[in-house]
Amino acid sequence: MEFSVSKSDLVRELGLTQGVVEKKTTIPILSNILIETDKDQVWLTATDLELGIRCACPARIKKEGAGTIPARRLLDYVRLLPDADVQVKLQENQWASLVCGRSRTRIAGMSRESFPELPQMPDILARLPLAMLSQMIQRTIFAISAEESRFTLNGALLVLHDKGIIMVATDGHRLSMIEQAVPLEVEDVYKALLPKKAMLEILKLASDNGEAQIDFAGNENHLFFQIEKRLLLGRKLTGNFPDYERVLPKEHSHSVSIGRDDLRSALERVSQFSDERSRAVRLKVAAGELQVHSSISETGESEETIPVEYGGPDLEIGFNAQYLLDFLRVVDQTEVEFHFKDSNSAGELRPKAAPEGVNYRYVVMPMRI
């Protein structure tokens, strides 16, 4: 195998694959990137067996072939090269030589034989604007559980139906749901559990190409996301996602409308005086005001009052400040609605004026403090 590529093309595409390369060295071949020649390009493939990614990089092929090279080392080195063409040549003994300007380097590769085969992309289920999907991910991903033992919560539920897409994530304490109306040609309701790592990779791909469309497909075990020549695939999470509709409150007794940034900065300041681990703050509502209060015995306390339109009963509800901030940091609208019932029932945050066709709800369970 022998080809030449532009340094910048190679760095860009290698960069996109890095998140998928296996970090542990239990299976050495997975630390490598598979390079295959194809007409006027080379395919770069990486996988950690959970995720797989395949990107194309324009190249002038001198001799066809394929081989694998340690991914991290290759990128770290190529990144430092001058902006010029890089000549790559793979020898019979699996050593790759790289020549660029005055630099000559040899890297020990491995035979492609032991590199796992990625599954083929099945028929497309839906085509969506990539920006829309990435926005839905940003508004839910933070609610995914970090608790490994709760594996069905280690990703988000993706629902496709003929009128739109729904994405839901929860860690058992709070739940974030976004519904986007968009006509789709799906026959039945399609549901799948999307692993968090795949969602992060989609965000990465979207940041590189915001205008693109994304083709989505799924087979029994995998989910596929094709953005032009880049293909990301991830193993589906198995298990039953909780019945999120049961958790979404049907109605709330009380609600206040509040400036996103007012609430956000109040929470950020006050929570400096909350327990580091639980981040507990108290929200007190009374006629015409919402107060955020927090204290750690023998360390300090802090409170802030925000004027709001409220005429209901005085109430005090404990919350994890971090949970509330997670929502306030991603919501676009400058006014949010806070709905609540009492100190033992879930509270809910929503954008006050969501754009047409978007339904964004964030439900948070209180803390007993």
Partner: protein
Amino acid sequence: MPRLICHVDMDAFFVSVEELFDPSLKGKAVVVGGKADQRGVVSAASYEARRYGVHSALPLRTAAKLCPHAIFVEGHPERYRECSQKVFTVLNRFTPQVEMASIDEAYLDLTGTDRLHGPPLRTAHALHEAMKRETNLNCSLGLASSRLVAKVCSDQAKPNGVLWVLPGQEAPFLAPLDIRKIPGVGKVTEASLNSMGIHHVGDLARLDENFLRERFGRWGLALAGKAKGQDAGSWFDGEIGALEDPKSISHEHTFSEDVADRTELETVLVKLSEMVAKRLREHKLYSRTIQLKLRYRDFTTITRAHSLDHGTQFDGDLIAAVLDLLQRNWDGATPVRLLGVHAGSLKRNEGQMSLLDEPAAERLRSAFRAIDKIRDRFGVSSISLARSMQTNLREKTHENPYDLPGKAPQEKEESIPPARKPKN
């Protein structure tokens, strides 16, 4: 006005209670804790058995070698608790300031009770007699101006005696005593002090505080205070009757034969978790850190902890955490000598509520309230999870029963840092 603290220590409590139920044991060498050939340690020994060198915390098998003719009994935790309750009733008549330090000892703050009961010694004798009359048990009383000296006093008064150290006489009283008599000084500290030529409390009291601080850090200062009879350091500081939450709650089990069978280990862990969870509920505490302790045949011990995202006091959460820890940390083959379940990061409230499991959690809470009531009425073994029914662990009986006022059980001996090397 000087404080008047009384330390009441029941004499050979477990043995004496056993004698109440089986008078034939009287005057004989009796060891409570288990059978002579079992693993585990002596909970209590009668004075006759003590003559042969048997004392609590000694391995049962060693006790059997030292005193082969001793009568070994398993013990009856429910009887001890019942008697402890009676002891408390007597003490509570003398002052409301009673603190049960364990199942068989208590501190009383008698300051200012002379108008009611008369001078200290008369009060002490009245208490001593009331105790014998109403519980049929002997106890020893120590009276002094501090908890520490009162405790040392009751020890010196044993058996069945009363000792009062007059205010101002604390230092001369303590000076000739062995340093081991100071609560908190264990084997390690003793050896370390002995190596500096310190054998008696008096030797310690004469030392410069700065020297002790340099050698032992903050603990050295506490030691200096103790040597002068002050309530210095750790729990001797608190007011009597002031309740303190425990820092952690744990239960351990030593197998009589090492076990390498997963099912058996899991069964014991389930049982231990149940015991820990029950005590969490008794103390109205929620734990966020569950720890597994494993000790192998060669005494290598590992502890592994799991942090939960919410506080819990329910068996199921503890069980899931410890079984997972066992799964991850035990190789499935090495025989295990001891298992322990430890709940830490204790809080008064459960913290974050669950969004998904809240209705189930509420049902669970009421189920456990019912279970705890059944246990309180019919005994701990009257109801248990099916998974733990195969085990029959003996209860730990040394700590203070939860419904009596007192400091929560101390989980560990006072941790004593090794002596620092003097700076050159």
